[in-house]
């Protein structure tokens, strides 16, 4: 597998991202594009907050009965002529998919957008065995021809500008006139449409992800705006659905509730353009549709999360709202996170899937501002879960020595109030001396990591504890005066 986890180099990645002017311009559009639209569309639906509660409850109920819903789902799929495959690991899933493709003698495989396929490194595996995987979501296609990972779970090419894409199209789409105009996004998209249309019609197998699996009806659901997922799954002989265990929901009604919060949270649309419910293979008399229908259900570490403190993370419906609203993601972009899932959801999920020893920086790359939790459609307490990872990292002695030493030093004071109070007052006086009359500190010993990039503010007045004490004293004085006046 060539999928490299570069999460251990998060700090280097982030440093490079901050200096990348093109990336910074692209990231500037994330906030403008997503945040306002989500706010507007949520504001238009009075039931939105109640729907978020309901969405959370559906996921919690399903997770608590996950074994039974998966069994019920499998029974329905099988009854309607589909086949469910179970994959405990990424390797199992890759081999199941490869096995189906080989049996069908597949040469070209089209793919709808699937984060699971990224997670298991499916494209490289298929290519190594002589099968050409073709991403068909426009953004995924662009990053595929650049050999990159998605930098956002719903807008994979958000880090790129049109000039870069034009250069890639000219490099890859051979045989087209060099004089053609590819200046505008519209002409780039039209060219991709033409190139990919041929692939759709030539593909032997189509692979999609699943936003939901519905136990009641044995149905897989995909949500797209482009319609690429539909062409992927309708035209070839076989449709393979890749889904992780937590994608199952009980009923059509439950899926509807979740769909009501998904598009609004993701792109700020009332509903995505194409929501497709697929149940089994082509039926007798059907003029089109796949002859085979397979579902690969992937665990890859999720069942272990179910038993611990990370269960709430399995509610995630992959809308991307947490990263759209994250100041850290907004500053460094998705690639800095070093693996498939970026942003706050990635900071919680990545350590669970690749190990905290590799991904320890990610849950630390947060200011705990809480915006992610505020907008999460299924109310995942992301800061709490990131804190959980920080605690685990500390327990396992994976934190850097400076962090451990610093925390130990601070703890020695914090446990001794008689020492803490005078020490903090002294520290504040020292800081005031450093800052002088400017109110800002340009350089501070031992705090170069901060002052190299920005000033340190001079603390105002006194410590919190001292101010609190003063407040209590003032109150008592006022009360005493009131009593005295009352008596007079």
């Amino acid at each position: 597998m060539t999928l490299q986890v570069t999460s251990p180099q998060f700090k280097t990645n982030a440093g490079a991202a901050l200096k990348d002017a093109q990336l910074q311009r692209a990231l500037g559009k994330v906030e403008a594009g997503f945040i306002g639209r989500r706010r507007d569309v949520a504001g238009k639906l009075p039931e939105f907050e109640a729907l978020r509660d309901a969405a959370r409850d559906i996921k919690d109920h399903t997770l608590a009965h996950l074994d039974l819903y998966l069994e019920a789902y499998e029974r329905r799929v099988t009854k309607l002529g589909g086949k469910v495959h179970w994959a405990a690991t990424a390797e199992d899933a890759r081999n199941i998919v490869l096995g189906i493709c080989k049996r069908l003698n597949a040469k070209i495989v089209t793919k709808g957008k699937s984060m699971i396929a990224e997670e298991i490194g499916l494209n490289d595996h298929l290519a190594e065995h002589g099968i050409a995987p073709v991403e068909t979501d426009l953004g995924e296609y662009i990053i595929q021809i650049r050999h990159e990972m998605p930098s956002h779970i719903i807008a994979p090419a958000i880090h790129l500008n049109k000039d870069q894409i034009e250069a890639d199209f000219r490099r890859v789409h051979k045989g087209l006139p060099a004089s053609r105009n590819l200046e505008e996004p519209a002409s780039l998209m039209a060219e991709a449409r033409t190139v990919l249309r041929e692939k759709f019609l030539a593909a032997d197998v189509g692979i999609t992800g699943a936003n939901f699996l519905i136990a009641e009806t044995g149905t897989s659901v995909i949500v797209t705006n482009e319609g690429n997922g539909d062409l992927t799954q309708t035209l070839p002989r076989a449709h393979i659905v890749l889904a992780s265990i937590e994608k199952v929901v009980p009923t059509l009604e439950d899926a509807s509730t979740l769909l009501r919060v998904l598009a609004r949270s993701a792109t700020g649309q009332e509903m995505s353009v194409y929501t497709t419910f697929s149940t089994g293979p082509r039926r007798a008399g059907d003029p089109d549709g796949p002859e085979e229908y397979h579902v690969v259900i992937l665990d890859n570490g999720r069942s272990a999360m179910l038993g611990g403190k990370l269960r709430e993370m399995l509610r995630c419906i992959r809308c991307g709202a947490c990263m759209n609203h994250c100041p850290v993601y907004g500053a460094v972009g998705g690639h800095a996170y070093g693996w498939v899932y970026p942003g706050p959801m990635g900071a919680v999920l990545t350590p669970a899937l690749v190990g905290i020893d590799k991904a320890g920086h990610l849950p630390n790359a947060s200011t705990f501002c809480g915006r992610c939790e505020e907008v999460c459609p299924v109310r995942i307490p992301l800061p709490k879960l990131m804190r959980h990872w920080r605690e685990r990292e500390f327990e396992r002695h994976l934190s850097p020595a400076t962090v451990r030493w610093g925390l130990g030093f601070w703890a020695a004071f914090a446990r001794r109030p008689w020492l803490y109070r005078p020490a903090t007052r002294l520290a504040m006086k020292m800081l005031a001396l450093f800052g002088g009359s400017r109110g800002r500190i340009h350089w501070l010993p031992l705090a170069g990591g901060w002052t190299r990039h920005r000033d340190f503010p001079v603390p105002e007045r006194d410590t919190f504890q001292a101010q609190w004490k003063q407040r209590a004293a003032n109150k008592a004085k006022l009360a005493a005066r009131g009593e005295a006046e009352g008596a007079a």
């Binding site: 426009l138 958000i158 319609g227 009980p250 009923t251 059509l252 194409y274 497709t276 149940t279």
Partner: protein, 223 residues
């Protein structure tokens, strides 16, 4: 041990269950059998305003809509749409009885063929199972008379829907589907809300990424 056993055993170990506990099984069976409704938005509840809501929501998704008094008006409306887009006078449609009964020969220049699309037809006409005013969403189902390829391969998609089949919310349409098809959903149920679009290049919204560039809805009859 099979992959199935490994995954299910691991889930059960984490949940601290064996998978045979009666209360858990009952909870799951009842939910699947009763499929209770969750929170259903109020906005689609007023029958008199439903078509207007459907039109507004569809317009927000960049689809267009025309109201027709009767199926007899469909051929003229289709021809007018094709002309407005400078398209050849040719459509592909499914064999749906509701489309079969439309007097297509009223438009003498309109060429009508029946069957699935292979990507060479510029425009298709489908009949929707229903629609949802809540978000301006059409509901189409696959079957011998309704090829799914017509919804995605042509550059323009014209969809006929009966006014009385426009529901306020998704749940009403699920119940109608259960009534018609029982526990076995059609192979494909397509919710379509506007023409195909993408914002993957510099977040610029463009239509016709892979599916139709234009979506035109003909609402037939009275509510």
């Amino acid at each position: 041990m099979s992959g199935r056993d490994v995954v299910l055993n691991s889930i059960r170990r984490s949940l601290g269950t064996t998978g045979v506990e009666a209360p858990r099984r009952t909870a799951v069976e009842q939910r699947l059998a009763r499929h209770p409704r969750g929170i259903v938005p109020q906005r689609g509840n007023e029958p008199k305003k439903r078509i207007a809501l459907f039109r507004d929501m569809l317009a927000e998704a960049h689809g267009t809509l025309e109201e027709l008094a009767s199926p007899e008006n469909v051929p003229a409306a289709v021809a007018a749409y094709l002309r407005s887009k400078n398209l050849p006078m040719s459509i592909r449609r499914g064999a749906d009885p509701r489309l079969e009964s439309i007097p297509w020969n009223k438009e003498r220049t309109l060429e009508v063929s029946v069957g699935r699309s292979d990507g060479n037809q510029p425009a298709a006409v489908s009949h929707a199972f229903g629609a949802v005013a809540e978000t301006g969403t059409l509901v189409l189902v696959s079957g011998p008379d309704n090829p799914t390829t017509l919804n995605f391969l042509p550059e323009h998609h014209i969809v006929v829907v009966n006014a009385k089949d426009i529901a306020g919310n998704y749940e009403t349409v699920w119940d109608a589907l259960r009534k018609k098809f029982g526990a076995r959903l059609p192979r494909t149920v397509n919710w379509i809300t506007g023409p195909s679009r993408s914002a993957d290049i510099e977040q610029v919204h463009l239509h016709g990424a892979h599916g139709p560039k234009g979506l035109h809805v003909l609402v037939v009859g009275n509510f």
